[in-house]
Each structure stands twice: as C-alpha cells, then as structure tokens.
Subunit: 220 residues, 2 copies
C-alpha cells in the first residue's frame, strides 16, 4: 500500500477495490465510535474489530489513531484549496480567500458524502473541537494548510514567499477569523452548514474594521 488515498479511478483491480473498501470501513467505524463513545474511550482494537481486521492492519492504513479521525477533514481541506486556485486571477488576496471559503461551503457536501454521511462529519467536528488531543492536531493541520494557502497567494501575486511576509500575514489573519467563526458555530445552537457559511461571511466582513482604531462609541 502506497500513498493512494486520492480519488478513485473508476474500479482498478480487485486488490485496489478491496483496499479502498477496508479503508472506508475503518474511517466510518472509527468516526461512529468516536462520536458515540468519545475519542479517548475508543481503542484502536475496537475500531479494528468492528471492521474485522487486526490492529496491525489498522496501523498499516493509518499512521496513528489521530489520522483516521481527520480522514474526512482531509477531503474538505483539499476542497478548499482547490477552490482558491479556481478564483479569478485579478482578485485581491483577501477577496480571493473569502471567495474560496464561500465557494467551498457551497459544494463541500458532495465531497464529503462519498466518504461519510454529512451528519457524521458534523458531529466529528464537535468531537475534534472538544477533545484536547484532537484539537491540537487540528490546529497543526490548519497551520500546514495555511502554509499552502500562503504559497498559492504568493504565486498569484508573483511574490517570493521567502522574502515577502505579506502572503503569510493575510492568510494568518484570514484563518484566525475562520477559526473564530468555526468555533462559535460548533458551540452554537444551529449546527447546519448554512449557519457556518453565514457566520464565516459575517466575520470576514468585520476583520478590517476590527483591526483599526478604537471601538467604543466613537470611530468605526
């Protein structure tokens, strides 16, 4: 088994299909157990047993227990990145990021559904935010995505990311905002996709103002 968790070429050999099925089954069982019993109270043995493979096989598909928890996020991350590369070249950096985020929310459902039911994805998001070990990994993964985004922004603007700090700066500010929105969403009542989309748009529209000057009565 190599690094072939990418999209599925229609069918390929029996071996390939079997591997994909096993992997998908592991992801689904894992997320179900995580959301039902909690991440910490789920052992790798349980996950493996639910799919009827050995623990050793589990670790041949996933480097560690955390990795299976992020299998679905992985899909949406690359979805968002792709949305950015698809934005018109003329757009300003922050506008492009904003556009990509909103585009992504519109089409993310399909991208996820192939792997797990959407509601499972949603519930898993809450588990991640409320499990310290997973939250930590989530933040690291986000940082890695940010790096890719910054490089893409630099490319769009024809800048050298090693010498010009601005690409990383916008991305850092941008995703700080995204995180705030995501957190409010996962803590709030309305856990629908639409709610998340709206929260994101709303907060992005207020960064500029929030960064300058005083807030009390006067300015802004």
């Amino acid at each position: 088994m190599t690094t072939d968790q990418a999209v599925a070429p229609p069918s390929a050999g029996l071996r390939e299909r079997k591997k994909r099925r096993t992997r998908a089954a592991l992801v689904r069982s894992a997320l179900e157990l995580f959301t039902r019993n909690g991440y910490d109270h789920t052992t790798v043995d349980e996950i493996a047993e639910a799919v009827d493979v050995s623990q050793r096989t589990f670790f041949r598909y996933f480097a560690n227990k955390e990795e299976v928890a992020f299998a679905a996020q992985e899909a949406t991350d690359s979805h968002f990145f792709a949305a950015l590369t698809a934005r018109p070249a003329g757009e300003a950096p922050l506008a492009a990021l904003r556009g990509a985020a909103l585009d992504a929310w519109d089409t993310i459902g399909e991208a996820v559904t192939e792997l797990v039911p959407p509601d499972l994805y949603m519930r898993m998001y809450s588990v991640i935010e409320s499990t310290p070990a997973l939250l930590a990994v989530h933040l690291r993964r986000t940082a890695e995505l940010e790096e890719r985004l910054a490089r893409e922004i630099a490319r769009r603007e024809g800048l050298d990311i090693e010498t010009d700090p601005r690409p990383r700066l916008v991305v850092a500010a941008f995703s700080g905002v995204i995180r705030v929105a995501g957190r409010l969403w996962s803590e709030g009542e309305d856990t629908s996709m639409e709610a998340l989309r709206e929260l994101t748009a709303f907060h992005l529209d207020h960064v500029g103002a929030a960064l300058t000057g005083h807030w009390s009565e006067r300015q802004e």
Copy 2:
C-alpha cells in the same frame, strides 16, 4: 502536592523547597535531553533517571511528557498576559497588544532565567517548532492564551465577548502575525532575543497594509 508551580515564596518549609528543587531539576534535565537527543528519542525513564527519581514521580509533577516541555513557555505566556493588563487603558486594542508584545520581549529574559538558562529556552523553541507532536500542543496552548487575551481586550473596551466578535478577531489576526514572526525567527540565522523583537515589530506594522487591496506595483 497541589497546584503550586507559581512564584516562590522566599523559602517555606523543607518539604516545599525540596519539591521545587525536584521540579526544576526535572525541567532542566528534560529540556537538556530534548534539545540534545530530540523529543521523540528521549524517554520519560531517562529524564527521571537523570534526576534520580522514579518514573512514577515524574508523572506526579507533570501530567504527561509534553507538559515538561512547555514549562518554560508557561512562564513567558503569563508574562505576556501580565504585560497586556499593564498597558494604559486608553490604548486601542491592536496598539495595546503590540505594546504588550514589545514590553514583554524587553523583560522576558529575567522571567525565564529563574527556571532555565536562556539559550536552552531558545533551543527548546526550535525543538517545539520542528517536532510535530509538540507543535500541535504549542498551537493549542496558544489558542488558549488567545482566549484569555480576547477576554482581557473585551474587558478593557467594556464589551461582552459572547456577543461581540471583535475582541476575538483582533486577537486572532494579531497572534497569526506573531506566529509568522516567530516561525521566521526560529528558521532564520539570528536566534537572538533582539532579532525576535524586531521581527515582531516589523510584521505587526505591516498587517494593516497587507490586509487591504492588491499588492502588485499599483496600490499600497
């Protein structure tokens, strides 16, 4: 043993002093081993043995292996937070954060030295940034600090953090910038405190411009 890792009341009983010495010795030995051999290649047994206590005792001082790695950061974090609360009330949010960051760099040396030699602190920072498991925890800790900062900003401005997103927004953008600066520093040649201070100031002065409009020749 309770939660008494705070500052040292001059001497207290023998018991107290002994505990503090053990704790400090564990931190120092741990950081030395981490920076010399790497975090992953250092076992808790080795750390405990270096201080001549049992592994079980190590885990009575630190909840886990990660915690000892962040003992020094803990000191600087609260140092920075204190610097923020000391800023004049009239200052605008971003200005106060900027001021606190620069104030903190000026006096952070002393705060750290009591625990470990400064160069060990510096080298440990690099280890954290380059060790995935530690980087993840670092980011989570940072997120927690951000939450405290946001609450303090809200307090200064007399806002309700539950309903007004702006405190979290500035802090998110602000610390995104800090992180970019910190990373460039830990990757760069000049690993001095001054270099970090300068990088921080420089980047903070450029967020505003970076967030608005296009960058190429034209505007800005």
